[in-house]
């Protein structure tokens, strides 16, 4: 393709990105690097403030645990789905279904389940397993549950796509060589799905870090995450510069995650 044509074709995209992404980003982030002249003082302040640090580590912790749980739940489920013939599209539709409903609605569902007078507490009380209702809502636990529920479909869909590329004959060959189904899974299926697991994990991890409505509705004010913190700084306290600092920290986190995982994935995928 001629260079001029090529430039012409990508021009609209570049223009849109510049106006609606790069420009606002620069305008928001520029003040965070200045304090009467260029400086990193605001970032140093962020990382020496114990409250900010607590929010930062809570965010990372929740993202890591959510990623691990999605991985552990998603891998077997995805393998099961990818080996179905007739029921495959139905099962796929079933796993994608939650993605089609609004995250806010889904968070409200969890409020109904986990609340003091919610479904779970009522059941446990009526079975006599507990005597006073458990505090489940507005804790790290409820954020975690909501986040896992939010992103598990993404993990499953990514993994099914990756596992579909494993030829059935390859697993059959393993079986014929004496590997039971379980051994075949660990020795053949799992190593071959590692790239998919990595991609799925990146999606879940970055999604969990940036999700806003779920931690907002299920975490409350006591259990801030970075995303809810940004909102609070910017909208409630009108402190746009602090919000910008947090936003940049989040951007760096996600970019670093993606880069590291890409490296890992290239290492693992020796095919």
């Amino acid at each position: 393709m001629k260079r001029s044509v090529f430039l012409l074709l990508i021009a609209p995209g570049i223009l849109l990105l510049t106006i609606f992404l790069f420009y606002p980003l620069v305008v928001t982030l520029a003040p965070t690097f200045s304090n009467n002249g260029p400086s990193l003082a605001r970032y140093l302040a962020f990382f020496s403030d114990s409250y900010y640090l607590a929010v930062f580590f809570r965010t990372v912790w929740i993202a890591v645990v959510a990623t691990l749980v999605c991985m552990i739940l998603g891998v077997p489920t995805a393998y099961f789905i990818s080996r179905r013939r007739r029921s495959k599209s139905f099962l796929m539709a079933l796993s994608i279904f939650p993605l089609l409903t609004n995250p806010v609605v889904r968070a409200f569902a969890w409020i109904n389940i986990l609340g003091r007078n919610g479904v779970l507490n009522s059941l446990l009380l009526s079975w006599g397993w507990i005597t006073t209702p458990l505090t489940l809502l507005y804790t790290d636990f409820s954020i975690l549950i909501g986040t896992i529920y939010l992103f598990l479909p993404l993990m499953i869909v990514t993994l099914v796509g990756s596992m579909d590329t494993i030829e059935e004959e390859v697993t059959e060959a393993a079986e014929s060589l004496g590997a039971s189904r379980l051994v075949t899974f660990f020795k053949v299926v799992l190593p071959l799905s590692l790239p998919g697991i990595v991609v799925g994990s990146v999606l879940v991890f970055t999604g969990a870090i940036t999700a806003y409505s779920t931690p907002n509705l299920l975490g409350g004010n006591k259990n801030m995450l970075l995303a809810t913190l940004i909102y609070q700084r910017a909208m409630s306290l009108a402190d746009w510069t602090s919000a910008g600092v947090i936003a940049f920290v989040m951007i760096v986190m996600t970019v670093v995650t993606v880069m590291v995982m890409q490296k890992v994935s290239r290492r693992l995928d020796r095919r």
């Binding site: 390859v170 059959e172 060959a173 060589l177 590997a179 053949v188 020796r270 095919r271």
Partner: protein
């Protein structure tokens, strides 16, 4: 009792359309048996029943007298080579071949020597550390073979293992497979739809059509005495005509003319009608009309050049006849020719 026996195997994927119907096959120890047939006739299905990937709806599969119909795949100890090779893409050539031995908890020194010995036999020694994607088609094929053979399987199952290779490689690989199979004495089932390949490599051939074995015999027997019209067509007979008996050892064609057929002596049962068949190569064409038995006059309809010979389609009173004739005498379309059907070349089926 034969080594591997399939008895009345019945398979249907959807419960309605039968794929295999009462299939019977007995294979002797150390034999290489081929399943030959057109696409979709059930060759792979048969192999998958033997391999344990499909449970038949009825029937039994026994190996060495032991019923294995419901034995799990990983407990059968059969070697499998697929058309797609199905190598483990994340493992090196060495690791691919060692896969089965590792699962058998062979201690590492003897594992290594066994794998290396197998790699030497299959001429892969220098490639031990490569990944499958770094190999040519022929090399992959040999890895698949080595991986299946190294575990000393009770039965080797090959599903069109040569179909992805070019013509030259096919030839050398099939000699290679035969050599290894005889050397290791492994009973083998080989699936193919290439007749020449199948006849050259097999001790016995099962010709299949629509899930039924039409004939199971040595390549020579099938080639010269096809059991029925389907088999005859499969092994190159293109000309067929009806015959009816007229007294012992004699028969007449549709026109009421007597045909002399040597093979009729072997058909002394009460049979009164047959289908006669002859290959295009075996018919002799002459320009001048010669009268006598087994001669047919016809006009040349189509002539095609085959390289070594010409192929003619003749319109005769017995119908269309296809003849391959040498290049030294050429007949133009429209001319009348005389076709001689030698009595020793006509088979009855």
């Amino acid at each position: 009792m034969s080594y591997a026996v399939l008895e009345n195997i019945r398979v249907s994927y959807d419960g309605k359309t039968p794929v295999l119907t009462d299939l019977n096959l007995s294979i002797e120890r150390g034999e290489l048996v081929s399943l030959l047939g057109a696409s979709g006739c059930g060759k792979t299905t048969t192999l998958r029943v033997v391999g344990g990937f499909i449970e038949p709806r009825a029937g039994r599969f026994t190996l060495n007298g032991v019923d294995m119909t419901r034995t799990a795949v990983h407990k059968r100890n059969f070697g499998l080579v697929f058309q797609s090779y199905a190598l483990f893409p994340h493992l090196t050539v060495f690791e691919n071949v060692a896969f089965g031995l590792k699962l058998r908890k062979i201690e590492s020194a003897s594992l290594k020597s066994r794998v290396m010995a197998m790699l030497d036999i299959t001429d892969l020694g220098a490639l031990a550390n490569r990944y499958p994607r770094q190999l040519s088609g022929g090399q992959r094929q040999r890895v698949a073979l080595a991986r299946a053979l190294v575990v000393e399987p009770q039965l080797l199952l090959l599903d069109e293992p040569l179909s992805n290779l070019d013509a030259k490689l096919r030839l050398s690989m099939r000699v290679e497979i035969k050599r290894l199979q005889k050397k290791l004495g492994i009973t083998t089932i080989f699936v193919t739809h290439d007749q020449e390949e199948c006849f050259s490599i097999s001790d016995r051939v099962a010709i299949m059509d629509k899930g039924v074995i039409q004939q199971f015999d040595t390549p020579e027997a099938i080639y010269s005495h096809p059991a029925n019209e389907f088999v005859a067509r499969f092994v190159g007979f293109t000309n067929f005509f009806n015959l009816t008996a007229s007294g012992t050892g004699r028969c007449l064609n549709n026109l009421g003319e007597e045909m002399v057929i040597d093979e009729i002596r072997n058909h002394t049962g009460g049979q009164t009608s047959w289908t006669g068949a002859i290959r295009p190569d075996d018919i002799v064409l002459t320009g001048t009309e010669v009268s006598g038995t087994n001669r047919l006059t016809g006009s040349v309809e189509v002539r095609t050049f085959l390289g070594k010979s010409y192929q003619y389609e003749l319109e005769t009173k017995l119908g269309r006849v296809v003849v391959n004739a040498p290049k030294d005498s050429i007949f133009e379309p429209g001319t009348l020719v005389c076709a001689h059907l030698p009595s020793d070349k006509i088979v009855l089926c």
